[in-house]
Subunit: 205 residues, 2 copies
């Protein structure tokens, strides 16, 4: 057993894994964090990421792009402004576009991050939870846990007001197994062969 | 698509899912939370739990036992005292026993909970992260995020001092795929047929 653990250590600098700040797991194949630094690349490599959703308007750093290229990770950038004076409202159409990328299992495993992993990331995850039919108090508790003392009332208002119906209407090209996303684990399955002809009748069982 | 979502709603009271307080996902098949109440049973049912690790000495409530029985969920109770005056040290042998249950995928999906999901649960998850070779600052950040303002220095000290070697030595009956737990997703695999004769040489590749 010890042999196994030691062999594994050789693959990680210094034998320890440094998670990005504010890292946590959202769902099977969905992670969230603050901005990953080079010292987090060893940790990120263990997640076998297929994609990253990056929610800031600033260009992605060269060293992070190299890490993505080396690990064949696709970058989806949605330029949402961070703290501005006066505050910029969270752009709901952009969040909706990010959500479409997020729920598509062809992009999983996927990491969502902005700068701190609190506000922009928190809003996107909050909207995902609404799609999953989480009750609002559970959604807001999760947002606040990840934002800590920096939580913003306007983010809570945005999540509460976000209408998931438009997402549902856009999901026709993504197939679900029996009960649909959030009702059974690993339920959001993309079935490549059925993109054009969704089997809606499966839901009537 | 709408048909699918509405059909799913019929299976959840009021159409929304209430997560237990302080709920989050730790790893594939591992969840953590505060004490689940009856209004959380609908949410918990979506996780398809196989087991629960309960870290308090108080008897499990009758209604929770009924939920476990109805859903064929096994209860592992480790009676660790909560807040006492003077403070009781976290019992490392008990945490080690809980950790053995936790890393055994035969028990997954598994939910860890105590009362608030902050201190006892936080210590157990912190020890798991050490087994996974997370660096100490990542471990402590996760502990603090989940404990919020109630974080305790003595919990951080416990996690830091916890020796994972004894766990590693106890894991001979659980098999790993190539690099071992925490280095690849879904790497902690139990291979029923190999319990008696672990293939240690697999680690030498």
């Amino acid at each position: 057993m010890c042999l196994i653990m030691e062999a594994a250590d050789d693959h990680v600098d210094g034998g320890v894994l440094a998670a990005p700040s504010n890292f946590s797991m959202v769902e099977d194949g969905i992670y969230r964090s603050g901005f990953p630094k080079p010292e987090n690349f060893g940790f990120l490599a263990t997640l076998n990421l297929r994609s990253i959703i990056y929610l800031c308007p600033e260009p992605y750093p060269e060293e992070n792009l190299k890490f993505l290229e080396a690990n064949n990770i696709k970058l989806f950038q949605f330029g949402i402004e961070g703290k501005t004076d006066p505050p910029t409202p969270m752009p709901k159409d952009t969040v909706l576009d990010a959500l479409k990328v997020l729920v598509d299992v062809r992009n999983h495993p996927i990491l969502i991050h902005c700068k701190a992993g609190k506000h922009r990331t928190g809003c996107l995850v909050g909207c995902l939870r609404k799609v999953q039919r989480w009750c609002l108090s559970s959604v807001l508790e999760e947002y606040q846990k990840n934002a800590g003392l920096k939580w913003r009332q306007r983010d809570l208002n945005f999540i509460e007001a976000f209408d998931t119906l438009s997402l549902r209407q856009c999901l026709l090209s993504i197939m679900y197994r029996y009960h649909g996303y959030g009702f059974k684990r690993k339920s959001l399955l993309h079935e490549e062969e059925n993109v054009q002809t969704p089997k809606l009748q499966a839901a009537k069982v």
